[in-house]
């Protein structure tokens, strides 16, 4: 919880009933309490699109909203719109499992995700919005000597890059999470790699917080506005056609992960991306059971607990091209089997809901933040199933690229042409087979 005690405007102004959304503070909460909470303003304006913008961001997910916010707040570019085909928070920003971490191995990734972690650490004060960022730790379990060595290497790479990492033995893990099956005959838990600064955040509040802070900086957030074409003049992107009419822009930025191929195709581009469905799960609410994030090392499964009490967990993508936002039973079975292998006690808890989101699975498992071959068209894509944790740095670096026409140093490796030049960033080392990343 972040109680924000900073006041940058007089208290009376924060109670005004017109104009941009109010600044949230303990004083505005107190004042509203005295008024029976009847004076709250919408968190952001539901804007009507203007004919032209300096920058038009397609996609009102976490990354698009963050991009617009950082364009306005860090680069002074305030004539910006975010256009979203549905409503804010209806896509992947509200479909993930809310984990944040920066435990990456490769040089192209580590500094980027660490910037993201640092932005998470100051996010609520920066946005003036409670995103419930909780640094409860992320613990990756290992089950063999070889896996321990691989995690030691990863931890050392992280520490060399200034990221926190601790290699725990079995008894240290047991002290943290005593209820796991340590005696599992096939995959006994030997220890874990812990990033204490990792954890979770409330994903809806991340979308709302960026929308709130972007709006306060002049960004127009246009909902129910689907792009139907990218307008081109002399080979340059000059705007879009939408279900709410044409909008011109000096720069057009794509942040539509899941649908990147479809939107890029409107500008004649083919991307190194396949769209796949990833399922996620939540159990019925139970009393506090697990106060950290645990990932199973012998299968793809990870679990944490939301503040409402539900166990939130996930596993592999289904593994075939899909835009359906729903998956099939084999992956559900696989995730439940992994859960039971790691933590037999969860067998007594009922699953409440599951859902699917569409991932941009790139050909090396890493994202793209770059210019495109089309002048005036910028691309933010390929987040695979790691986009949520990247939200702040993705927006930060994409805004930098759009504003200055040069990559931010920590995102310089996320080039679109790296597949052609061989400079791929393949954390898992499985090659150009998206369903294996």
């Amino acid at each position: 919880m972040s109680a924000n005690l900073r006041l940058t405007r007089p208290l009376t102004l924060s109670l005004t009933l017109t104009g941009p959304p109010m600044r949230y503070s303990v004083f505005s909460l107190l004042a509203q309490t005295l008024k029976g909470h009847k004076g709250w303003q919408p968190t952001w304006r539901d804007a009507v699109p203007k004919p032209e913008y300096d920058v038009l961001v397609i996609g009102g997910g976490g990354h698009g909203l963050a991009t617009a916010y950082y364009l306005a707040s860090r680069h002074g570019i305030r004539n910006v719109a975010v256009i979203e085909k549905g409503f804010i928070g209806s896509g992947n920003v509200g479909r993930n499992t809310t984990i944040i971490r920066s435990n990456y191995l490769l040089p192209g990734n580590t500094p980027f995700y660490e910037l993201s972690m640092k932005l998470w650490e100051g996010l609520e004060q920066d946005l003036n919005y409670n995103a419930m960022v909780s640094q409860r730790g992320v613990l990756n379990l290992y089950h063999s000597d070889a896996q321990r060595d691989a995690y030691a290497r990863r931890g050392n790479a992280m520490r060399l890059a200034g990221v926190d990492a601790e290699l725990l033995d079995r008894e240290q893990v047991r002290a943290m999470v005593p209820f796991l099956d340590y005696e599992n005959g096939r995959f006994p838990i030997q220890g874990g790699l812990l990033q204490k600064r990792g954890g979770s955040a409330r994903h809806d509040a991340v979308a709302w917080g960026y929308a709130h802070a972007g709006d306060r900086n002049g960004v127009d957030i246009v909902q129910n506005c689907e792009v139907t074409a990218i307008s081109m003049e002399n080979g340059r992107a000059v705007g879009v056609e939408t279900t709410r009419g044409p909008i011109r822009a000096k720069k057009v930025a794509l942040a539509v992960a899941g649908n990147s191929s479809r939107v890029a195709a409107m500008a004649g581009l083919r991307l190194p991306i396949e769209s796949h469905v990833l399922q996620a799960f939540v159990s019925e609410g139970v009393k506090p059971l697990i106060d950290t994030v645990v990932t199973y090392g012998a299968g793809h499964f990870y679990v944490s607990q939301s503040d409402k009490g539900g166990l939130v967990f996930g596993g592999d993508i289904d593994g075939y091209n899909s835009y359906a936002q729903r998956g099939n039973l084999p992956v559900i079975e696989d995730v439940m089997e992994s859960a039971m292998a790691l933590w037999p006690g969860v067998g007594r808890i009922r699953m409440l809901r599951h859902w699917g989101g569409i991932m941009d699975m790139s050909m090396d498992g890493s994202p793209i933040i770059d210019h495109t071959p089309v002048a005036g068209l910028y691309l933010n894509a390929g987040w695979c199933y790691g986009g949520f944790k990247a939200t702040p740095a993705s927006g930060f670096c994409f805004a930098h690229l759009i504003a200055r026409d040069e990559p931010h140093p920590v995102a310089a490796a996320y080039r679109l042409d790296r597949f052609a030049t061989g400079r791929v960033i393949d954390e898992k080392g499985v090659g150009a087979q998206p369903n294996l990343h």
Binding site: N259, R262, R270, I273, Y320, N321, S322, A324, Q433
Partner: protein, 91 residues
Amino acid sequence: MRITCPYCGARDAQEFGYLGDANPQRPDGMDATEAAMHDYVHLRDNPAGRHRELWYHGAGCHAWLVVTRDTRTHAIEAVEVARKTKAGAAA
């Protein structure tokens, strides 16, 4: 999702492995330009809708199949044996 294998009948998708889009054709590695090879290895149409794709019946007859499936609904329109359809040839 069930896939009706021409040899084995309707089987759970769990029995099959997925490779991806069946349309890209591997260029001759001795002749192809780097750009053509890059296009084959990395770039995909990734359509929302009808998709011809390669599946392998690993827990069944071990045949490679070309499945025509709608990526928006997962509905399967056709399943052919890849060897007979010249895998990689456009539909």
